[in-house]
């Protein structure tokens, strides 16, 4: 599995903090950022073309433009084996259910914080 992580999140602070915590935990992942759904799709395709298919995508739900559900659906169309985790404040809602239906493998609630996220990444990448 590629230790390539794509983070699709519109809030820059969130992007920054996720990267800091991942680096701090020494996960040694190659991290790419996208700040909208459309950018996330393009980035995924681009990385695939470069032979750097993301081992995991961290997906926000509420974003300007297309939301996390549609972004997930489109990425799944590009790569049916894509692994996507939702990291969202909209856990336990219809929205998060729709994200799972669209192809996401897990929802990580925001209240679990970055340490919670890092823990899930370690588990996923087997680190």
């Amino acid at each position: 599995m590629n230790k390539v992580l794509l983070i699709v999140e519109d809030e820059r602070d969130m992007q920054e903090l996720m990267k800091k915590y991942i680096e701090k935990a020494g996960l040694n992942l190659e991290i790419y950022s996208a700040y909208s759904g459309e950018e996330g799709i393009e980035k995924y395709r681009e990385l695939m073309e470069k032979g750097k298919k993301p081992g995991l995508v961290i997906m926000d739900l509420k974003m300007p433009g297309i939301d996390g559900v549609e972004t997930t659906e489109r990425i799944m169309k590009i790569d049916k084996n894509a692994s996507i985790y939702g990291f969202t404040a909209f856990f336990d809602t219809d929205w998060s259910e729709r994200l799972m239906k669209a192809g996401a493998k897990k929802i990580i609630p925001r209240y679990m914080g970055f340490e919670g996220l890092v823990k899930e990444l370690k588990q996923y990448f087997g680190i």
């Binding site: 602070d13 903090l17 800091k20 925001r110 209240y111 914080g113 970055f114």
Partner: protein, 566 residues
């Protein structure tokens, strides 16, 4: 009775007297004989005639003696008798005993039975008996017998010797056939011996009683028939015999039996009838009633016989009954509802079908069939009350109630009309699926299909089409029997407002999640990093972190449980 028996006895006497020349000795005896006697010479001239012959012919003796015998014979028989005479005189055979018609002086005809005796010297002695009346009686009997509808049998020595046409028709046998059997053989087995015994006694001239009775007998085709027979003793052809006159009463007996059975049938019908049957006379007095009617009023029949029907009619209905009876007297039958008061004081309602009875063309009362509908009336009242209750519930229900049969609405309440924004005449025309939002039709179709098949079903949320737009509803219902057919009775609960509230609530929660968790998460993230940079011992950052986590916990409880607590 004068007969040729006496002539036969006289014959040797006559011959002797003529032969021995002792005519004079017996002349007076011949002259006074009750039999007409003539002596005719070879040339046909009457040389002797007695008073009786003169009486038969209506001539004086002096007008007879010396006349040719044909003068006293009717023209139709003259030639025949002349031929007989000539043959006899020439020694040839000629009938010695026959009947002929005598021509009287007054031109009338008498029937004469004649016996000829050949005397010496070619004389002929003729003995004549006037059988006109006997013949007339015989003809009369034959005509009566021929035209009679009653069967006439004469039997002698165990055999029928005479039967008229009706007797042949009744038995199916001809006289010839009957002659070959004993008459009692056609009598039904149980009666044979007695018929044989009585018949034998009658044939011997004994008077047997009873002489009129009914008898069963078999006709030639084997059918058992009944006759009423009247018997008497007679003399037939000089010997004792018996006569039986019979009337075939098979059909009458059959009809009587049928009438009896029919009466019995009607009696049972009347007695078994659940409907009260009552007959009253022209004075409204009860003359007949069945148990059902008496018992429905709590009486025994005997208690009501002779009582006036008005005695049992509820006071408020008496005028009505008077009007009805007036109609009966005018010949109009009627069907009406009336109340009677039972023995225990209970007021009972009956439906009465009544018709007038007539005797010799005059009104003789009424026959009525009375159906006790008290319980039915009570049930109807309960139904009316129940219907009113259900109507009130239905009309005031906050839910739409409807009934579908054959895909069409056969009933909707006002709430249903209000929810769909349609009027009754419009609703009754459309198919129920026209009200269901296109994407939810399969859902509703499956729901109704399961209901029709009697399967357990969950109530679906679905969208229906109101005039004002798409609305949300929940459907409950089941299959019922309606006017002998299956129908779907459904309840539509509109949940549009509830759904909207839920949506608002959901959006609110989502916003809380978004607007609180993200900044909290960011704040927590940075505080943690700041703490690591400034050292774990920084108490103020730790307190800020704890405060943020408290807020985060509260927001988490709001989002997850809808409750505000730490």
């Amino acid at each position: 009775m004068i007969s040729f028996l006496s002539i036969a006895m006289l014959t040797p006497l006559v011959i002797l007297s003529v032969v021995n020349g002792k005519w004079g000795l017996y002349k007076q005896f011949f002259e006074e004989s009750p039999i007409g006697i003539t002596v005719t010479e070879e040339n046909g001239i009457i040389s002797f005639a007695n008073k009786k012959f003169a009486e038969i012919c209506g001539y004086k003796l002096s007008e007879i003696i010396g006349e040719h015998f044909t003068k006293f014979v009717a023209e139709e028989d003259r030639k025949k008798m002349e031929d007989f005479h000539k043959k006899r005189m020439s020694g040839k055979d000629a009938p010695s005993e026959y009947e002929y018609r005598c021509l009287r002086k007054d031109g009338k005809i008498r029937y004469i039975k004649i016996k000829m005796i050949k005397l010496p010297e070619n004389r002929t002695l003729a003995c004549k008996i006037d059988v006109t009346e006997e013949r007339e009686m015989k003809e009369l009997f034959e005509r009566i017998a021929a035209t009679s509808l009653m069967g006439i049998f004469i039997y002698q020595n165990g055999h029928i010797v005479y039967m008229n046409k009706s007797a042949e028709e009744i038995t199916g046998y001809s006289l010839e056939e009957m002659k070959n059997i004993n008459y009692w053989e056609i009598v039904a087995e149980d009666y044979r011996e007695i018929v044989k015994e009585r018949g034998s006694q009658r044939e011997k001239g004994m008077k047997i009683k009873p002489d009129v009775y009914e008898l069963p007998f078999y006709s030639k085709n084997g059918a058992l028939r009944w006759g009423i027979f009247s018997f008497n003793n007679i003399m037939y052809r000089g010997k004792p015999a018996a006569i039986a006159i019979a009337v075939d009463i098979t059909e009458i007996k059959k009809m009587k039996k049928e009438v009896k059975e029919s009466r019995e049938k009607y009696r049972i019908l009347v007695e078994m009838s659940q409907e009260g049957i009552c007959m009253d006379d022209e004075d409204e007095k009860i003359v007949f009633l069945n148990d059902a009617f008496a018992h429905s009023l709590g009486y025994e029949k005997e208690e009501l016989f002779g009582k006036k029907i008005f005695d049992f009619v509820y006071a408020e209905d008496r005028e009505k009954l008077e009007k009805e009876i007036k109609k009966r007297k005018e010949g109009t039958p009627g069907r009406y509802e009336i109340r009677f008061v039972a023995k225990n004081g209970e007021v009972k309602t009956f439906i009465v079908s009544s018709t007038a009875l007539y005797r010799e063309g005059k009104f003789a009362g009424s026959l009525s069939v009375n159906l006790d509908i008290t319980e039915r009336k009570r049930a109807e009242e309960k139904i009316i009350e129940s219907e009113a209750l259900y109507r009130a519930i239905t009309e005031h229900s906050p839910n739409g109630i409807f009934m579908i049969k054959g895909g069409k609405f056969v009933f909707v309440n006002s709430k249903f009309l209000q929810l769909t924004g349609r009027e009754m005449k419009e609703i009754s025309r459309i198919d129920y699926m026209d009200l269901v939002y296109n994407e939810d039709r399969k859902l509703i179709y499956d729901f109704v299909d399961k209901a029709v098949k009697g399967k357990e079903i969950s109530t679906p949320e679905f969208r229906y089409i109101s005039v004002e737009g798409i609305r949300w509803g929940v459907l409950n219902g089941s299959l019922i029997d309606y006017k002998g057919e299956k129908a779907f009775l459904g309840v539509l609960t509109d949940i549009t407002e509830i759904k909207e509230i839920h949506e608002k609530e959901k959006r609110f929660i989502e916003r809380i999640s978004h607007y609180f968790f993200n900044p909290i998460c960011i704040a927590k993230g940075y505080i943690q990093l700041a703490k690591e940079n400034v050292g774990e011992e920084d108490i103020m950052l730790e307190k800020a972190k704890v405060a943020i986590e408290r807020v985060e916990n509260v927001v988490k409880n709001i989002v997850k449980e809808g409750e505000i607590y730490e």
